[in-house]
């Protein structure tokens, strides 16, 4: 067994707000292996971004975090900002959703890449600049030696995101955390940026944590996939296991509810009824139970633990949080959710 790069144990994050306590993450266990691409998928409010922020120690002041996050033999949780900054940027690079706000508008992009380098490496001015240009070229910025002195507003959204990738990989980090890196971008630009991201991880041999709501993006890049729902991991496995034999009804539902560009659109979409639960307070049982077509009495009283799915072959680490995971995994895709128009009564004509 390889030593994991990052080991998250029993991570719990609560936010105290005026409306009450929000449990954003409820007991996550996750480890990241060297040189893997781990996709984390989930809808807004599922806790996927909070996980990334917790790792980087970037959560807001009103967050109450418990559990442990180990990187090698160092515990990241509870670390002082000053100690953390020796990890941020050097060991872990971060890419945010909006490239416009993650770059400082008053400095040239070259200056910002150089700043990331000089935070952790002692290089001469010329070497630093050369390194910045090399990084910008690597992520596919044309004429990087000309454009290094340009400012963020002189770049398009896709080009800015490449600059952010260059900054994230500046010190050859072991991990790159990308939180919805292409959500704000157009599809052809997304293809360019994903290509740059692939180059970045190939060059720096880093592991990539790719957080996104887009199952298609995950399918192309990730080797392992985590599905989050209501602050928990509800399914984890290889990309093939998740996409071809999901063991959690929510994953089934997600795969059935998205239209596909390679599908001629004849079949209706299978929608998941209802909406995600409120994170304020706690209800007993499985958080997906109210929307689940397989719901039984046990689902309303007992929250299922994340357990290995036995009947899948060849996928040693396929786990799902469902009382009926071994049944679900054998069901054909998209057969679980009924093909009804609405769970609502017919209007009077």
């Amino acid at each position: 067994m390889v030593e994991p790069l990052l080991d998250i144990k029993d991570l719990d994050v609560r936010f105290s707000t005026s409306e009450g306590e929000t449990r954003a993450i409820r007991g996550i266990n996750l480890s990241l292996n060297p040189r893997e691409v781990l996709g984390i998928v989930g809808e807004s409010g599922s806790g996927k971004s909070v996980t990334a922020l917790a790792v980087m120690g970037l959560l807001a002041k009103n967050a109450n975090v418990t559990g442990s996050i180990h990187m090698g033999d160092r515990e990241l949780l509870g670390m002082k900002d000053r100690q953390l900054s020796s990890i941020r940027g050097l060991k872990i690079g971060m890419i945010f959703q909006d490239p416009l706000t993650s770059l400082n508008p008053v400095y040239s992009v070259g200056w910002q890449v150089e700043e990331a380098i000089s935070a952790h490496q002692d290089l001469s001015k010329e070497k630093r600049r050369a390194e910045a240009i090399r990084l910008l070229e690597l992520v596919g910025i044309p004429r990087a030696d000309d454009r290094v002195d340009d400012y963020p507003h002189e770049f398009s959204g896709g080009m800015r995101q490449r600059v952010v990738i260059a900054i994230a990989m500046a010190n050859n980090p072991q991990i790159i955390l990308a939180d919805e890196p292409t959500t704000a971008l157009d599809v052809t630009v997304q293809a360019q940026v994903l290509e740059a991201l692939q180059v970045a991880i190939d060059q720096s041999h880093a592991s990539l944590v790719l957080i996104t709501h887009d199952l298609g993006v995950v399918a192309g890049l990730a080797s392992r996939v985590v599905v989050m729902y209501a602050g928990r991991i509800v399914e984890i496995g290889t990309a093939d296991a998740i996409f071809y034999s999901p063991a959690m009804p929510y994953t089934h539902g997600l795969l059935g509810s998205i239209p596909r560009v390679d599908d001629d659109g004849g079949a209706r979409l299978r929608q998941i009824p209802g909406s995600p639960p409120s994170m304020i307070g706690t209800q007993p049982g499985c958080p997906f139970a109210p929307r689940c077509p397989l719901r039984k009495d046990i689902c309303l009283t007992e929250e299922p633990a994340l357990r290995s799915v036995s009947s899948t072959t060849g996928t040693e680490a396929h786990q799902a949080a469902c009382h009926f995971a071994s049944d679900v995994v054998t069901m054909p895709l998209a057969s679980m959710f009924p093909d009804t128009s609405d769970d609502h009564e017919e209007p009077p004509q």
Binding site: E43, S44, P142, S156, G158, M159, D186, V187, T188, V189, Q190, A191, Q192, E195, H213, D214, L215, G216, V217, V218, A219, G220, A239, D240, F243, Y244, G253, L254, L255, G256, S257, I258, P259, R260, V261, D262, D263, D264, G265, G266, R268, L269, R270, Q271, I272, P273, S275, P276, S341, D342, D343, H344, E345, E346, P347, P348
Partner: protein, 340 residues
């Protein structure tokens, strides 16, 4: 709606006919003490028809002019030139008062479910507003009509006096749809109606729109950047690039036999939630950035990023010509490449 026979659609007269639509914006920019006036060429000579009860998908990336086209059809933005004919009536040049009648039969649903509803107006009142504006509100039937509409879009009528912030994104979008449909319009302009919603919510709204079309026979101009959603909902699809339609065809034809290089690049870039397929696909990654609509390239606007560009592409604008039955492409070197 895709099951409808396309032949039947072809023979009817178009409900909406857009011809050579041009929308230019004046944009003032300041540099030091001088001020420049630039023209943004948002839409340049777009033509398309929509037949009763059909869905035309208008797809393209940001800045391609699809949203401007939608607003120009609605006359929310007045076209610089060209014609918009709706149910036999020319809309350009009509004043506000004359447009009021058209407003009843052509409605709009906007993208942002948080921005498109007045936060200070209860949803029942928002749904009733079109009736009030057009003098159709009666005390006896108004409330009942609102209740029916709420039922139709899958909302509980008893929530009519709640405010938008008490609803989720998907529910708000249903309110927007109910409001747009209460006057029984013949055409609905849907401007990115599902792109702000979470995936599990999107499906419900897409299904609702399909059901409503089947039941009410309303035509859709469905504007979106998501090619998967467009494929799912559209009868015909028009692909826009930098203010021009580059390819327009039946849904099946455009996705199976894309002939414009831009359509091909666009389709190949859409990720497919299928690991094996996704990893073995050929992906056409475009070079460079979208040119500025202030100073668009001469000739074919896609030529600066096209791998097939020749001298003729710079000197001559390719016409939108029929390649095969109903499949029209604006390219000097059209050629079918299967990408999905």
């Amino acid at each position: 709606m895709t099951s409808e026979a396309p032949v039947a659609i072809e023979t009817t007269t178009p409900l909406l006919s857009v011809k050579d639509l041009v929308v230019h914006f004046k944009k003032r920019s300041h540099r030091f003490l001088k001020s420049y006036e630039n023209t943004v060429h948002a839409v340049c000579g777009t033509s398309f028809d929509i037949h009763p009860g059909e869905t035309l998908g208008l797809v393209g990336e940001s800045g391609c002019g699809k949203t401007t086209t939608g607003r120009a059809v609605l006359q929310l933005i007045r076209p610089t030139s060209g014609s918009v004919t709706f149910a036999g009536q020319e809309l350009t040049g009509l004043n506000r008062e004359e447009l009021r009648g058209t407003r009843q039969t052509m409605q709009v649903v906007f993208q942002d479910p948080f921005g498109s509803l007045d936060p200070r107006m209860p949803v029942g009142e928002a749904i009733a507003e079109p009736l009030r504006i057009h003098g159709q509100w009666t005390k006896s039937e108004g409330h009942q009509r609102v209740g029916e509409m709420m039922n139709l879009v899958g909302l509980e009528p008893r929530f009519a006096n709640r405010f938008p912030n008490e609803f989720s994104g998907g529910q708000r979008q249903r309110v927007g749809i109910a409001r747009a449909l209460i006057l029984s319009p013949r055409l609905l302009v849907l401007d990115e109606p599902v792109s702000a919603l979470d995936v599990s919510i999107q499906a419900g709204v897409v299904n609702l729109l399909e059901d409503l079309q089947a039941r009410l026979g309303v035509a859709y101009l469905f504007i979106a950047h998501d090619l998967s959603v467009i494929r799912h909902v559209s009868d015909r699809v028009a692909v826009m690039y930098l203010g021009r339609i580059v390819e327009i065809a039946d849904q099946g034809s455009i996705y199976r036999r894309p002939s414009h290089p831009y359509t091909q690049a666009l389709l190949s870039a859409v990720p497919i939630p299928d690991p094996h397929k996704e990893r073995s696909r050929r992906r056409i990654v475009l070079k460079g950035d979208l040119p500025s609509p202030v100073d668009p390239p001469s000739g074919c606007r896609f030529r600066t990023r096209c791998w097939k560009a020749q001298a003729i592409c710079e000197s001559e604008t390719p016409e939108l010509l029929e390649l095969e039955d109903g499949h029209r492409v604006a390219c000097h070197f059209p050629e079918v490449i299967e990408v999905v």
